[in-house]
Amino acid sequence: MAINGFTGKILRINLTNSTVSTVETSDYIPQYIGGRGIATRIYWEEIGPEVEALSPENKLIFMTGPLQGTVCPASGRLVLVSKAPQTYPIQSIADSNCGGFVGNELKFAGWDGLIVEGKAPKPTYIYIKDDQVLFLDARTSRLWGLNTYATQEKIWKKHGSKTKMLVIGQAGEHLSPISTISTESGSTFGQGGFGAVMGSKNLKAIAVRGTGFVQVAEPKELLTLKEHFRKLKALRFGETVKGFQGKEISYVFQRASIGDGLALGELVEEGKVEMGYAACDQCPMMRRRTVKFLDNSMPPGSLQCLEALVYRASEQEYYGNEKQTGKVQELCAVLFQQYGLNAWELGDESFYIYPGFSGFLATFKRLYKEGVLTPENTGWPVDKIGSQEFIEVFTHDIAYGKGFGAICAQGGPRVLEYIASHEEFGPKRGIALTHKRRLYPKAGNFSGYGTHHNLGHLFNMTQYSSALYWGIANRDPMTKHTDLCVYKERFDGLGVELESDLWYEMMRKMMQKWIGTTKPIEPPGYEDAEIVARWLWQMNFEEDCLMMCDGTARQRFWCPYTEDGIGDPEEGAKLYKAVTGHNVTQQELWKKCEVPWTLERAIACREGRRASDDIYNDEFYPDTRDNKGRQIEKEMMKSGMQKFYALIGWNSDGVPTRARLEELGMKDVADDLENRGVL
């Protein structure tokens, strides 16, 4: 039965015996809202703690939220929840989000989500055309072994250019825990290593084509909201508004992209590169750039965020001023996308400073300088990091699992431990472990993810809250770009300097109204941190359950196009109401998000996670120093975490209490945890 904002059916695909069945979405809503909420519930019911990530028993749970299939801003998204091979050393639940068009296409085909289970006997790809599901041979179609771009091109040629799909590259086929699932040219399910899960199921691609639609409760209201939010997100070219403090504003910061000026500006100016805009479905901002070298010296690609920068610093260092800058960096981004490798995990230092840098390529550079890695013991020209030669062999060997690449393909923590424990890396090899503990700061058994934040970052005025927020996560939430900082760039030339009086005034007003406390930004900033951390988590789940885009939804608090500099914080509730007809306030919606959040924690606890896994490695604490010299101490983190647990109804060991679970309507979860001796 179709419900407003949903098609009402979830498609279950069994690859082992090529059968399909359906699951009713109405079993899960409105309690679990949608998206990550529903997927988490299905995970709870179907994937036990004993299941291994790369075994046929693991399932890929793709899910859409109520906003998919509608004209809400940036609605083409899809969330994936599964057991993640990247989590280290114990594989555990993780989620990943992806943009593009495939989320909407799935809704048009009549499905709210996909549960992919089992393992195909031979390389397969799935073609979903509305309610038809075909299991097609990926070997005779010559898809197996192709990169992500070529796979999509082949499927487009076969099934039409309106087909949207999820594909894996060679890295996923070779079961690398740092492989991705891609769609279009630059959108991926990055963190989690889910490309390997798909590869372990012998599944090369899921192609979707839909001709249907989803009913919404208030179509007129939704169109009004679409225009309302478009005006708050980004201006058109040539458009001028009366914005912050009544000033005329015409610039469009929001559309600026790392792919833009930062990476290839010089080459664009010289006319060597042609750049175009590329968007996800219904996106008002368009931050992705397509890149085409007019002399065809490099393959075409698309750039948006970090992947454009991973090789920048190294390339500049290696080539100096030879005007090479930008070319190899673009090639590097394209290679990551084509092989289906996680750019964040392999990242370079780029322009961030050490604790903020992202991946283990930067560590390799350090290890080479420290004499641990040599061309002999790696088989790679590590003396030439920054060159085209190095990045080509580096990505190829990792994607195909060859030589030292086979170890690197296991992800940063594993390769750094390997280096530390093998004699061929010389007497100083132990330093690799120190690097590991700083690069993957989470203590305990559920690490494996880089920081995705930078506690010492200039913008971050509420680092203690961010640390608590980050500490309990199963993956690596983006703490850097939360709404707890007023972006200076967004208010360029409008006097909102970091920590100016105006800045404090705006922050206080916003925090008082929406969070109910301003103490985390008042020096020393250590009080009420848990309240802010809870709010961050509510926001996180709101975005992932309704399925709004982080990039566009984050414009809701700080917006130069309004008189007071605040956009429309009630974006989530307004869109949710227009689509589903449920009348909730923003505060109520955030409260509702505690249901899937608590359930996700229950799953993590069932898989063995406890309070000792929620703090940092000892080596990481000095890196939490912010621009005022404040540092988070180990004891502070521990005591803060206890306060946080108490606030959100978890016991001192970090497990949701029975009272809390029953309050949220999850008695069965409490019973199960008790049976397993977790509670």
Partner: protein, 241 residues
Amino acid sequence: MSEEKEKNNSRREFLKKAAPLAGAAVLGATALAGCAGPTGAVGPIGPQGPVGPQGPEGLKGDQGRAGQDGLAAARPWKQLALPKGVITCDPMICGGCRSCEGVCSMIHEGVYSPELSRIHILKEWTMYNIEVDYQPIICLQCADAPCVQNCPMNAIKVDEQTGARVVNQQFCIGCHVCEKSCPFTPSRVSFNKDNKAFKCDLCGGDPECVKSCPMGALKYVQYEDGVRVDSTDYYENLGGA
């Protein structure tokens, strides 16, 4: 050679006509050239049959083609009122977000469905499918409008206010002649699941797709005296073959 020249002249004339009114000659030119692009490979069915060199008489407008071979052979073509405006798109800044498709189908059908949209975004895939340019599929409301001329039920009428060629689905019998008459590929007329035709109606003179475009790539260019874009003009723009 003379044919070649004739073609270029005609196109230039059209652009000249458009330029002062549009206030952005370049924009108009890119938009129209862009629109013609995807038709290149296929010969659309029109009054002259598949794409080929046009005689000078073909360029005179509506009268010249009446009674020629093709679908229109049965009856003479009518003189139609000219549309008062045309939607143009600058493919250079179009990012392919499908906001126009979303809003169009919402306005006309109450749901978001690219299938039911009157405007379409097609990606032009280059080697290794990198989206560089997007081809917006927009109905330009031809002056001679083969879809109107060929409809056996006269179900496509010219709107008095805007001059848009509008389908009255009540009279549509689902014969798809209009779809095949369209000089564009893909056709600017589509059919819904009830087998009724639908096409761009310019939203009564205030196109919603234009209002919703977040980049400002879509423009509604209005002409007081009406726009004269004959279907033959499209033939000429097929990459200057």
